[in-house]
């Protein structure tokens, strides 16, 4: 037996265990995609039909026929998530830079106070905020889905992450910029912000994911269906007559795809990002 074969043989139990868990967690994706391509009559066939035959690509088109607003939900999810992500990154980087590199009275005290915001659950602050947004006539707009997440608990996490990064940047760099006559804004925008790329990417990925997945906020704030985001919009495939599973699964595939694409392109950043926040 070659060495290679021996390695495989000795590690068979390891592989068996990993394959078993992988199958378990990947199966829902398989079932979602195959169901999305099945004929309506074959959905609950017994014994189960493992692979769709005939393949019904038109189910994806039917999603948009049954729910003409579906592209709108996709757009609503996309633009709110992009705004939350962009805003969080910019404001968190600005504050993180100030806390790490600028001198001003009570700097560290203010930072510590902001950190406490990370543990305040949205579910608790939602009740008074719902009241105020109702009075300001901001419920049933996208405002509550964009601004509070950007500057709330998620934003505070960003400040923490970016401050950590900027503290690691050698002081010579910003001193040199100062001597060259850069204002703090120029130092930030021209030198520090571009440098923070990797940390910003980690923050952006998590913020986007969180925002795309946000279910509680749209559920309580949004009542007009043209303002729905995807997680809430998916509910519309179930009505009193039951669920059109092949359409719901096709819609779910469409709702999941952007996340999976981002994940597969930025896998390393994702996993390293989690590992880092776990260690620090």
């Amino acid at each position: 037996m070659s060495n290679k074969q021996k390695t495989w043989l000795r590690n068979t139990p390891v592989y068996l265990a990993l394959v078993a868990v992988s199958v378990l967690v990947l199966f829902p994706f398989f079932w979602m995609v195959t169901t999305a391509l099945k004929e309506q009559t074959k959905i609950f066939l017994f014994p189960p039909q493992w692979l769709p035959s005939p393949v019904q690509w038109h189910n994806f088109a039917d999603v948009f026929k049954v729910q003409p607003q579906f592209p709108l939900y996709f757009w609503n999810s996309l633009y709110t998530s992009v705004l939350v992500t962009a805003g969080t990154c910019l404001f968190a980087a600005l504050a993180g830079f100030a806390f790490a590199k600028l001198q001003f009275p009570m700097r560290n005290l203010i930072f510590l106070v902001l950190l406490t915001g990370m543990m305040i659950p949205t579910e608790v602050t939602a009740i008074p905020m719902f009241n105020w947004f109702t009075k300001l006539q901001l419920t049933d707009t996208h405002f509550p889905l964009i601004v509070p997440p950007m500057l709330g608990a998620g934003g505070m996490f960003g400040v923490f992450l970016l401050r950590q990064f900027f503290i690691g940047v050698p002081a010579e760099l910003d001193e040199a910029a100062k001597i060259d006559g850069c204002s703090p804004w120029t130092t930030f925008w021209r030198i520090m912000f571009p440098l923070a790329g990797p940390s910003l990417a980690t923050l952006a990925i998590f913020t986007f994911l969180h925002s795309w997945d946000n279910y509680f906020d749209p559920l309580i704030y949004i009542s007009s269906d043209r303002l729905f985001t995807l997680p809430v919009g998916l509910k519309l495939f179930t009505d009193t007559a039951g669920t059109e599973w092949q359409l719901l699964m096709a819609a779910s595939v469409i709702a999941t795809l952007p996340l999976l694409i981002v994940f597969f392109f930025a896998q390393k950043r994702f996993i390293e990002g989690v590992a880092l926040t776990g260690l620090k």
């Binding site: 390891v14 592989y15 990993l18 394959v19 868990v21 992988s22 967690v25 990947l26 829902p28 994706f29 979602m32 169901t35 959905i43 014994p47 189960p48 404001f91 600005l94 504050a95 100030a98 600028l102 001003f104 009275p105 700097r107 902001l114 915001g117 543990m119 659950p121 579910e123 608790v124 602050t125 009740i127 008074p128 905020m129 719902f130 009241n131 601004v147 509070p148 500057l151 709330g152 608990a153 505070m156 100062k178 703090p184 795309w212 279910y215 509680f216 559920l219 997680p231 998916l234 779910s252 709702a255 999941t256 996340l259 981002v262 896998q267 994702f270 996993i271 989690v274 776990g278 260690l279």
Partner: protein, 313 residues
């Protein structure tokens, strides 16, 4: 600084030296300006709302009538008059205590398996992490479909071997365990990656020393690996616990609190009281009890983490 200040401003060489000092005076204002969006956000979206929720918990605020101060009545109602509150607390603890050991043990086991140089290891790591980046709503919808009573895949598979499957999500005893398992599969990859990073951080020399001393694999694991990664274990434990106390989406999608009230958890109850029947006062009291639990856990975590960091240095 004094030296530079004493020189006349017209001297071009001195001006170059002075510049940073002049800027230092402005730096303060730049600092406040740069932090102002987050500070305003903190005050408007976190501090004032949490204070408002606290004061609202002492009123009978509701959409139906004006709010009046009623003292501790909401808390008294929760603790002594409302059996559903205690049920809700019980269901939340059931969820947490079911999820945490499953999640942590599976995550640690997988991390240990993945912590070796073998072909395709990277593929398995990515595969098991994938559900973490999937929407919880979509994940719950797919599993709800798999666990459907009459023709769901799970019951069809059981039927193939001659068993009539139960009505999983419509069964008082089974609904919560199903939600727990589905939640574990969704998030186990997160803790797995945290543990994997911790395992890779353990200095190799400890294992070499153990091998020389003839320590068994089991002994090495319990005497070296576990103690070395205990800070990460503890962090994961607390974060998973806090997350599990706030469970909502998968419950709302898969069971909607049912059957009956058998999967009512704290956030679901807050949601139901505040945004279904608009009892803001009572909902605030329950929300504040949740906040208090999270606060205590976070303080424990911060204190113990400080102690560990101290040990490490």
């Amino acid at each position: 600084m004094e030296y530079a200040d004493a020189k006349p401003q017209t001297d071009p060489v001195r001006t170059a030296v002075r510049k940073p000092n002049r800027l230092n005076k402005h730096e303060k204002w730049y600092g406040y300006l740069f932090i102002s969006p987050m500070v305003i956000g903190y005050v408007v979206f976190l501090l004032i709302p949490i204070a408002a929720a606290f004061s609202m918990s002492f009123t009978n605020a509701s959409l139906l009538h004006d709010s009046e101060f009623i003292g501790l009545a909401n808390y008294k109602k929760a603790f002594t008059e409302d059996p559903l509150f205690w049920q809700t607390v019980g269901h939340t603890l059931y969820f947490s205590l079911g999820l945490i050991p499953l999640n942590l043990i599976l995550a640690l086991g997988l991390a240990v398996l993945l912590n070796r140089k073998l072909p395709f290891i990277g593929f398995f790591r990515t595969a098991i992490f994938t559900p973490v980046v999937t929407s919880i709503v979509v994940w719950s919808i797919v599993w709800k479909y798999i666990f459907a009573t009459d023709n769901g895949l799970m019951n069809q598979l059981l039927k193939l071997v001659g068993i009539t499957g139960p009505a999983w999500l419509y069964n008082m005893e089974l609904a919560m365990p199903v939600v727990i398992v589905v939640s574990v599969l969704k998030n186990v990859g997160l803790n797995m990656v945290i543990f994997l990073a911790a395992l890779q951080d353990v200095p190799k020399m400890y294992y070499e020393a153990a091998t020389i001393d003839g320590a068994s694999k089991r002994r090495t694991f319990f005497s070296i690996t576990l103690p070395m990664i205990s800070p990460s274990l503890f962090l994961a434990l607390i974060l998973t616990l806090i997350g599990s106390l706030k469970v909502f989406s998968q419950i709302q999608v898969m069971t909607d609190g049912g059957p009956g009230t058998s999967t009512y958890v704290l956030v679901y109850y807050i949601y139901q009281q505040a945004f279904k029947i608009f009892e803001f006062g009572y909902a605030s009291a329950i929300a504040f009890i949740l906040f208090f639990l999270v606060l205590v856990l976070t303080i424990i975590q911060w204190n113990l983490r400080k102690r560990w960091v101290h040990h490490e240095q």
